[in-house]
Amino acid sequence: MNQSTAIEIRDLVKIYRGSEKAAVNHLSLMIPCGEIYGFLGPNGAGKSSTLNILCGLRRQTSGTILIEGRDFREYSREIRQKIGIVPQDIALYPTLTAYENLLLFGGVYGLRRKELDKRIREQLHTFGLTSSKNKQIQYFSGGMKRRINLIAGILHHPCILFLDEPTVGIDVQSKRVILDTLKELNARGTTMVYTSHSMDEAQEICTSLAMIDEGTVIETGSPASLLEKHSECRNLEEIYLKLTGKRLRD
């Protein structure tokens, strides 16, 4: 197995119980190490489903997933320790403070108190949340919650980071600091898989991307190579619309 492949997805299928349509439909992908890999696609395309299977939250109906060459089903313990997730919906304890939340999520990765405390302080500083450290999450604004949601996924310095729409519904400032942090993490060697609806954002930070519709990959490549290939389109959005059509989704 090629050491420089971070994630390999082979013929992945996910059919949820009680639905006849496949949410993920024979999807295959290779994600090399060091990329910021974007999953672009309309709502219901199967992006979150794919991410959830990748991080071990759900099990696929069929197909194989190799993370750094290892099957999740056999090495789940090791793989869980190496990956980080930033879920689409804010997943934080509302009655716990920012610090207490981070203490828990960092602690579950086995980070000891002293080191953990240092990292939390650093991150809170980076994201401009130092003064809100001891405030309960329920009193945070949407942008602040998003930032904490991200910090909770990166405290343990994961090798692979899964981000499910990390910038949805927040102000420009919060989005900026999140994107900058992602770029910086990537520069330090973290591979990222990232879903979004924002073409501008994808064009800015993704080194590679896959357009997904109806559970399967319809186009892959770097933003530059895609623009080259579809020379009649001026930006990613036009390519996207050309490939996925203007039909509204469920």
Binding site: P87, T95, L103, L104, V108
Partner: protein
């Protein structure tokens, strides 16, 4: 692992403590219920036990036997004994009329010459035995008459009459032995000791259970503290399952499950935190029985003689409750569903299990159903300690049932949890 567990426990403790309203309900609901229900039930128990039964006594004998009966009746504290009606001395007729009017529940007439009659019987019997001649004549019977208020419930009347009957037999026997001793001493050159028969073997409280008198008295407190202790332990199911569902709907549980945090560890943290909570509630319930109840005029709780048995029961009941809560949460599909189902099922299990109304007062069909409720197992175990004066070993069957129930709940939940990944 231990470090992760500590972090999880820290989280669960904080979540629990920050939920002020939920916590308040967890503590106030059972404590209020126990106070109200015990006071209500205390009246029922009182009629039979605590408050004295108004009774009339006409002692026409005024000799040893009559005086002994009188003394014993006063001593038993069961009766509020009167020997006159509005300052006028009693006659058999006025006594009977007063009882019939319902002014007194009970009237007792000790006939004239009762002592004499018994003495005569004894003397005749003893002489007969020592002279070798057969005792042929029927002994003069001593007839102590007991009148009962006709309007009292028949069950109570029967119990009281039975108790009175045994009671007077006891006295009579006691008296007889003394008389026999006296007669024998008269004719025997070697004096023999009084043959003392234990006095305190028969009491009205016999109708509850066979108990050693100076130990645990069955009363509403001894019944209600265990019952509501078990209820308060199981009532945490509401908080626990709500907490689990909130965690699931907030996405926090999924997040933890993606992290290196096994489901078992996640649940262990809940078990630790909620066991501590349950034991705290149990302690409060005991303290309530000790200190608060006497302030409201109720008798104080009497501990049994097995702290270890009591602890075992509280602990295993806690485990069963936590297992039940985890199972409810695992199988619920929404927070709303849980917040309705959890309290409802606990109240129903409590009713079936004999928490609200003691099982022995239920119709026979319901009495069979009681054993279906884990709360009943807990209650029976605690009754062993608080009412039947059992020990660590006598509660083992109940403790074992509760533990098995807990294991079953945890097991089924874990299997279902892993199965859900595939859906």
């Amino acid at each position: 692992m231990t470090y992760k567990l500590i972090r999880l426990i820290h989280k669960d403790l904080l979540s629990l403590i920050r939920d002020r309203a939920g916590l308040l309900m967890l503590f106030l609901m059972p404590l209020t219920l126990v106070l109200i229900m015990t006071n209500i039930q205390d009246n029922t128990f009182n009629v039979v036990r605590e408050s004295r039964i108004p009774a009339l006594l006409l002692n026409l004998d005024q000799d040893s036997l009559g005086c002994a009966i009188e003394r014993e009746l006063y001593r038993s504290q069961t009766f509020d004994l009167h020997q006159s009606l509005d300052e006028t001395p009693l006659t058999p007729q006025t006594l009977e009329a007063a009882v019939a009017r319902g002014e007194y529940l009970l009237g007792i007439i000790i006939p004239q010459g009762a002592t004499h009659a018994i003495r005569k019987n004894v003397a005749r019997y003893i002489n007969g035995v020592f002279s070798g001649a057969p005792v042929n004549k029927e002994p003069d019977s001593v007839n102590i008459r007991v009148f009962l208020d006709p309007t009292t419930k028949s069950s109570f009347r029967r119990a009281l009459a039975g108790a009175m009957h045994e009671y007077s037999m006891q006295l009579e026997a006691d008296f007889l032995f003394k008389e026999i001793t006296r007669e024998v001493n008269k004719i025997s050159p070697i004096p023999i000791d009084n043959i003392e028969l234990s006095r305190s073997q028969v009491k009205i409280t016999e109708q509850y259970a066979a108990l050693d008198q100076d130990k645990l008295l069955p009363n509403s407190v001894q019944h209600n503290i265990p019952a509501w202790g078990i209820f308060s332990i199981f009532f945490i199911v509401v908080s626990l399952s709500g907490n689990l569902l909130k965690e699931r709907e907030d996405g926090c549980m999924s997040r933890l499950m993606v992290m290196p945090c096994p489901f078992a560890l996640y649940i262990t943290s809940k078990v630790v935190v909620y066991t501590v909570l349950c034991l705290t509630l149990s302690c409060l319930m005991l303290l309530m029985g000790f200190w608060i109840f006497p302030l409201t005029g109720l008798p104080a709780l009497m501990m049994g003689h097995s702290i270890s048995g009591m602890l075992l029961m509280f602990l295993t009941a806690s485990l069963a409750a936590i297992g039940y809560g985890v199972a409810i949460a695992t199988f619920s599909t929404s927070y709303q569903q849980t917040t309705i189902f959890a309290p409802m099922s606990v109240v129903i299990l409590a009713a079936i299990g004999g928490i609200w109304i003691p099982a022995f007062t239920m119709p026979p069909l319901m009495q069979h159903l009681t054993t279906l409720s884990p709360m009943n197992w807990g209650l029976e175990g605690l009754y062993d300690i608080f009412v039947r004066d059992g020990n660590f070993f006598s509660v083992l069957p109940e403790a074992l049932s509760l533990t098995l129930f807990a294991i079953l709940c945890f097991g089924v939940s874990a299997v279902y949890h892993h199965h859900k990944k595939n859906t």
